[in-house]
Symmetry: C2
Subunit: 456 residues, 2 copies
């Protein structure tokens, strides 16, 4: 099956296109037009002749040119019939948005859908899914208006989500945080293409550097885990498993109609596969933004630089709690820092530059630690509220991070003023966190994966 056509079609038909702005079939057409999809867009609806200035066709078979991809948003019972028409037309890929299949007990209908797709060799996502976003080719089958849910900018993280809800929330957060995405795919019930097919495709996608996965159940267990094991040799995979507890597992059955399996088994297998397990939505971000933006880590010795004593204390606790080590600064480093700081700054690691530190003191400390062979990664805790901190600190952190010498993470707790600065840092590829222990936990995951990469 041609999975690629889902992400890179030359033309798209929207089956169930609507003139009613409240309908999914309308939002889909609008999103393809406004997103700037470059090929022809064919709305399909026997009751209309025109939707949003585009000619509307009674059936996909009435379209004159070829149709690569069909996005289907019609009542469930009509879906297999429409897929048959798509097959006859030569459509290669289909995204079935419609729900009402195995997740509500209609297993027969889902089997019919699968049979049609197999017969006509249609690469099919769903049913009961949100489908695809590819910011490069502007495919956007997510039926949520852009004013309610932002679309991430182009980047290197691809996200495969069984759940549409989780997928949508993550997309929206990615957009909000200025996170760059390569491909998004929500596969819902996975009647035809499942997590294994999709992870294989994304693993070979040279625009994707990090894969994020949300799964509830896995259809072909052995194949999935063998694939995962191969994929992590090429690129990091961050995975969140829903339905790990007994109750959660029961809940997945009525959600995507899949069996969730045993928590301990999944945890052990993820570990064995070198996949990085996230425990919640926030950890997906905390981990993947670090993997995406920072170089691999040569070891586990952390240098801490801050302008707040309490921050230094908490960050140090975090380092030890997460199994990392506080770096011992070299003699040379200590000397250079001392020469450029007032006498009351206690030059050691964690390095508390004191509440009156400004860009100059931070600049020396960051660059010294970047060059110190005893330091493998740097955590910078900036209290933007203090008197001498200004946007020059942002600039120097961006410049230091751009050198890609070592992983560097920034913790900047606070309100609006801190947020404005951390947003700029994020947009420039410097990962920021509100708490040092979220930062250090993410770093510990990067250290683990780096060990695996360095061993190869």
């Amino acid at each position: 099956m041609n999975v690629d056509v889902l992400f890179n079609p030359n033309s798209v038909a929207i089956i169930g296109a609507s003139r009613d702005p409240g309908k999914i079939g309308h939002v889909l057409v609008r999103n393809f037009i406004e997103g700037g999809f470059r090929g022809p867009i064919y709305p399909i609806n026997p009751k209309c002749t025109e939707i949003l200035d585009l000619k509307c066709y009674p059936s996909v078979k009435d379209v004159k040119g070829g149709v690569d991809l069909a996005v289907i948003a019609i009542p469930a019972k009509f879906v297999p019939g429409e897929l048959k028409e798509c097959g006859e037309k030569g459509v290669k890929g289909a995204i079935v948005i419609s729900g009402g299949f195995s997740e509500v007990g209609n297993v027969d209908l889902e089997n019919q859908l699968r049979e049609v797709c197999n017969k006509y060799d249609i690469a099919c996502l769903g049913p009961n899914c949100m489908g695809v976003i590819n910011p490069l080719t502007r495919v956007d089958s997510v039926f949520i208006p852009t004013y309610k849910m932002g679309r991430p900018k182009l980047g290197a993280v691809s996200f495969i989500s069984q759940s549409g809800a989780i997928g949508g929330a993550v997309l929206d957060l990615m957009a909000r945080q200025g996170f760059g995405m390569s491909k998004f795919v929500s596969y819902g019930n996975g009647a035809v293409l499942d997590e294994t097919d999709l992870i294989r495709y994304i693993a070979d996608d040279d625009k994707t550097r990090i894969i994020v996965l949300y799964i509830e159940g896995v259809r072909r267990g052995r194949e999935f885990f063998e694939t995962l094991k191969e994929v992590t040799k090429k690129k990091p995979v961050v995975v969140l498993k829903g339905g790990k507890t007994a109750g959660g597992a029961a809940a997945t059955k009525s959600h995507t109609g899949s069996l969730a399996g045993n928590a301990a088994v999944y945890e052990a297998v993820f570990k064995q596969c070198k996949a990085t397990e996230a425990r919640n939505l926030d950890e997906i971000f905390n981990f993947s933004k670090l993997f995406e933006s920072q170089p691999f880590c040569s070891g586990e010795r952390v240098g801490i630089i801050t302008n707040g004593g309490g921050l230094a204390v908490i960050a140090t606790d975090s380092v030890e709690e997460n199994g990392l080590k506080i770096a011992e600064l070299s003699e040379e480093s200590r000397k250079k820092i001392s020469e450029n700081a007032p006498a009351y700054v206690n030059v050691k690691n964690p390095l508390d530059l004191s509440g009156d530190a400004g860009a100059d003191r931070f600049g020396v400390a960051v660059n010294v630690m970047l060059d110190d062979p005893n330091v493998d990664a740097i955590l910078v805790g900036v209290l933007f509220q203090t008197e001498n901190i200004d946007s020059r600190v942002v600039s120097l952190l961006v410049e230091a991070s751009n050198l890609k010498k070592k992983p560097m993470l920034v913790v900047c707790p606070g309100g609006e003023y801190a947020e404005v600065h951390s947003r700029i840092l994020e947009n420039c590829g410097v990962p920021t966190y509100t708490s040092s222990n979220y930062a250090i936990k993410a770093l510990s995951k990067l250290v683990d994966y780096s060990k695996f990469v360095n061993k190869k």
Copy 2:
């Protein structure tokens, strides 16, 4: 000593007041004026005659009227001398902002400071601290300009922080999140008044319903813990302990000059004292906003309502992972929900109302669960991105929460659109979270404390 005068003075002298807008002594005067402090403000500086239109005095002794509180921001070595003048003038409280005492090894100077305060019975905060904010009387000795660090609105949470950095970050976050504060106090080195004195004062403050504590070390261990044990009988205490690991403990020595002690000891004692331990800054918020806004909990059975299947799955996992239980809905509840939802909604707990749910479906579910005796607390997961969710959902959640029948928490992951709505919820006293496991972890803490309260 008159601790109350630090929070409720009738007049204030600012020793080290300055005309230079970049100086702490200037920001202090400005913050008292702009904050709206109702009594007289006396800038003290022998080199000026006027600061920000206020008459400036060479010495505190030159002030004609009485002075209740002195805020001191001058080089460390001059502090004991100024305190002596304050004592002779009859000043009852002092906040020593200046650093340069035991935290940098100047133990003698700190001893001198303590002796003067004891001799003249001056209730003294610091040195090396940020002092006090009381939004009611508009005392504000935090020397950070308001454009860099917001001030929280008046409310019921009081925050005692050893560290100024942590204190400032938390204040700023409180302001940003629309969190209401009763009193803030940062006590730095705690040379005169320490954590035990302050927690005793705040425990008796009838405007404070929740106490949040950040400590690194404790001076009078036994007294502190005996006090804490008494205080938690009156109101909940959320505590974050910095310097729990060996490295973190070493870092505290050069920060506030205190000894941090053993992690396991602290954890055990907090548990014994029924204080709620937070592991990081975010948990302080996650926990205390729930304690502040929601009623105590009658049990541990959680009802989950959502419009996203994946959210229901993850929330259910969170409930079990945090030792709570998924409630079994009553026959009557299930009937009422069924009558008001389409056939494809699977009526059980967790309750996935489906992606097309709107305010009506949510309204029925929330109110049914509020009345169901089998449900002790409610988690509502709202994907604001979906088609039928609008601000009516916000209104019904606020109204349901206002009934104060049971704890209700809202999870709304997402970007700008979700944030706008969650901000409104927060401002109306409905605690919101980005991840269900942060919400459920907070709920588990409320359940624990409620058990303790219910037993009494």
